[in-house]
């Protein structure tokens, strides 16, 4: 009986060690982002396709080279229902129950900031790619495991001001600006950076207002803006209102030389919806589509996910994942502190070019794009080449 027990113990020990070895071949990566709720649309456009595409590509190539092993990625997805509380709970579940090795960044400024403390508590590398906020220096100090790729709201707002300034210098528009924003963290941050910057650059703000999140009945806003006779119309808006404001401006035939809207302008569906009327509309983001890495990325995205990427945060989301993968390989292990150190100090080959982070932030971002001939090309950038200078918007037909 003792021998039988001993044999059983030995057999199960052997089986356990084999099982242990088998599961050590995969890297568990958790991803929590909206699949329902107000930001589900944005995440479905910008976030999830890139996450799934990256995991698929890595696994098809055999996995990441971690030290002397090739390890494939096991992706665990959770829906945070666009709720900060749900997102924090998901992070906790991923860390304690699923015991993932790494976590993909959440989606949107608000949710990234809300989950950052929890992610920092477990010391996961947190490479944000869809958070645009002026709090980056403060956040980096508080959470040294966090990295911010998309730029600050100030950079994005300044990009818009720079584009308008250049157009005014070229004599294409005058001095009068109508400025509206959605009453949400994103809109408020951009407004607090953008309004003083416009005034400093000598622009006159002839109409200013805000509207609640989710508003799609914007006829009064456009009417009032038109009545103020602006040369340029700027809206810090979210996808629903971006589309609504543009449609109303088209219907009421707003005659401005520059028309700028916020999130959603860079979506291919914006161009598909408005067709020729989209010509000359500016918005947040833009990428250099002349770069072959970007073109290759767009082709691969279309082939793998069946949809075009957007012309703003999609490429950054993919680049953030590339950085994570390369940092893991450079560290040679799944040790989170080592990977964080790699991200902080290394140079990475991404679809956005060679990236080296300064103080945990990406200083080089495209800030403003413009639809010209069906392509959303970069017209303002910090530290990167733009595709062209902005052109005047000539009517809506």
């Amino acid at each position: 009986m003792i021998r039988r027990t001993f044999l059983t113990l030995a057999a199960s020990a052997a089986a356990l060690s084999l099982a242990g070895a088998a599961s050590a071949d995969t890297i568990k990566i958790g991803a929590s982002a909206p699949q329902s709720g107000p930001l589900a649309g944005g995440a479905a456009m910008t976030h999830w396709p890139n996450v799934r595409m990256w995991v698929e590509e890595i696994n098809e190539a055999g996995g990441l080279q971690v030290g002397d092993q090739q390890m494939t990625i096991e992706l665990i997805e959770y829906d945070d229902r666009t709720s900060n509380e749900e997102a924090v709970r998901n992070i906790q579940r991923l860390a304690t129950q699923d015991q993932v090795d790494f976590i993909v960044t959440p989606y949107s400024t608000g949710i990234n900031i809300a989950t950052a403390p929890m992610i920092a508590q477990y010391n996961y590398p947190h490479i944000t790619t869809s958070a645009a906020t002026d709090g980056v220096p403060e956040f980096v100090e508080r959470w040294p495991n966090s990295f911010w790729l998309l730029g600050t709201s100030r950079q994005l707002a300044m990009g818009m001001v720079s584009a308008l300034e250049r157009m005014r210098e070229a004599g294409e528009i005058g001095n009068r600006v109508a400025l509206v924003h959605v009453a949400d963290a994103f809109g408020l941050e951009l407004m607090s950076a953008g309004k003083p910057a416009l005034e400093e650059a000598g622009f006159e703000i002839v109409y200013e207002s805000s509207y609640p999140l989710g508003t799609q009945d914007v006829a009064p806003i456009i009417s009032a803006a038109i009545a103020a006779e602006p040369d340029a119309f700027v809206a810090f808006s979210y996808p629903g209102d971006t589309f609504a404001l543009t449609e109303q401006a088209q219907i009421q035939d707003m005659q401005v030389g520059a028309f700028y809207t916020g999130v959603g302008t860079a979506f291919p569906s914006f161009r598909n919806r408005f067709g020729d009327a989209a010509e000359g509309i500016m918005g947040i983001g833009g990428i250099n589509i002349d770069d072959e890495r970007i073109q290759d990325y767009i082709d691969r995205h279309q082939a793998a996910t069946g949809q075009e990427p957007d012309y703003w945060a999609s490429a950054y989301t993919y680049a953030g994942l590339q950085i994570l993968g390369q940092a893991i390989e450079a560290a040679g292990s799944l040790d989170r502190e080592a990977v964080i150190e790699q991200i902080r100090t290394g140079t990475f080959d991404t679809v956005l070019g060679e990236m080296t982070l300064e103080n945990n932030a990406n200083p080089n971002v495209w800030t403003t794009g413009q639809w010209v001939d069906g392509v959303f090309r970069a017209v303002s950038a910090d530290g990167l080449d733009i595709a062209a200078d902005p052109v005047r918007k000539e009517g809506w037909d």
Binding site: G214, T215, P220, F243
Partner: protein
């Protein structure tokens, strides 16, 4: 002047959202929290018919409305009628129906997310300039308003000038008394619920011509519809239409004359005022 016209157009939009719920709540006594999901589902069907088969949404109504009628009727008969039969009083039925339709909301939302994903959808239909009294308005909104008016008039004729419709109104007043005058309450409630669903679906198809929608937006519409239904008096379609118009004009006036940021505050302020001074709603009857 533009404020009034814009406000009336907006009121027409709101009426489309609310007419269905007032029938469902007022007659079938079901607080249908999944009402918004029916609306969004209709948006998706209209979008699909338009982009895949180039079927005009107005023609698509001929398909969407009957389909919604049948599906909502089935939902009432198999899911909600057992609750009605079981409820000992109206309060219990309300609680039960809220819980049941709340679950239905997530079920329908989940199906739509599975089928269409979470992305935003929109399409361009009649997004042209239409001049009324010298000012430009979206033709799609004008068409939606005209359709809303036609539907409202049709509904009025049905409810006030036909036998079936009068039975529906009778059940709205008091189901027990209606039973006593040989009205088949269960069947009438089912028809009212199904009709409410069909109306909401018509609203959804028309709204999809100028709103950007995604699978998760149902709740927003349900909340708006709820306010309008309660303001107008539960169960009375005339009240819902009047309340919708009042709300549309008030919102547009506030957005134009005061601040667009106060539209939601204005909506709820109006709601509170109505509840303070006339809790049964504009056309509602006093609780006896």
């Amino acid at each position: 002047m533009t404020i009034i016209v814009t406000g009336i157009l907006l009121g027409g939009t709101y009426a489309l959202i609310a007419m269905g719920l007032t029938l469902q709540y007022g007659v079938a006594r079901i607080m249908n929290l999944a009402n918004g999901e029916t609306l969004v589902a209709a948006c998706f069907i209209a979008f699909w018919l338009f982009t895949a088969y180039h079927i005009n949404p107005l023609l698509g109504l001929l398909v969407i409305a009957p389909a919604a009628f049948v599906i909502n009727g089935a939902i009432y008969w198999y899911l909600l009628k057992p609750l009605v039969d079981r409820a000992k009083n109206r309060g219990q039925l309300e609680v039960d129906s809220i819980l049941a339709t709340f679950g239905l909301l997530f079920l329908l939302q989940g199906i739509m997310i599975l089928a269409f994903g979470g992305a935003y959808f929109s399409y361009t239909f009649l997004a042209e300039r239409f001049m009324i009294l010298g000012s430009p308005y979206g033709l799609n909104r004008v068409v939606a308003f005209v359709a809303a008016a036609v539907i409202a008039v049709g509904l009025y004729i049905y409810l006030f000038h036909t036998r079936q419709g009068t039975a529906v109104r009778a059940v709205a007043v008091d189901p027990t008394s209606a039973n006593l005058v040989a009205i088949d309450v269960a069947r009438t409630a089912m028809i009212a619920f199904a009709l409410g669903g069909a109306l909401t679906a018509c609203g959804g198809a028309l709204l999809s011509t100028f709103y950007t929608f995604n699978a998760s937006m149902g709740v927003v519409f349900t909340m708006k519809a709820l306010i309008i239904v309660i303001m107008g008096g539960v169960g009375d379609v005339r009240g819902a239409v009047i309340a919708a118009l009042v709300l549309g004009i008030a919102e547009t006036a506030v957005a134009s004359l005061i601040d667009p940021g106060l539209t939601i505050a204005a909506t709820y302020a109006l709601f509170i005022l109505v509840l303070l001074f006339r809790p049964q709603g504009i056309f509602g009857r006093q609780q006896s």
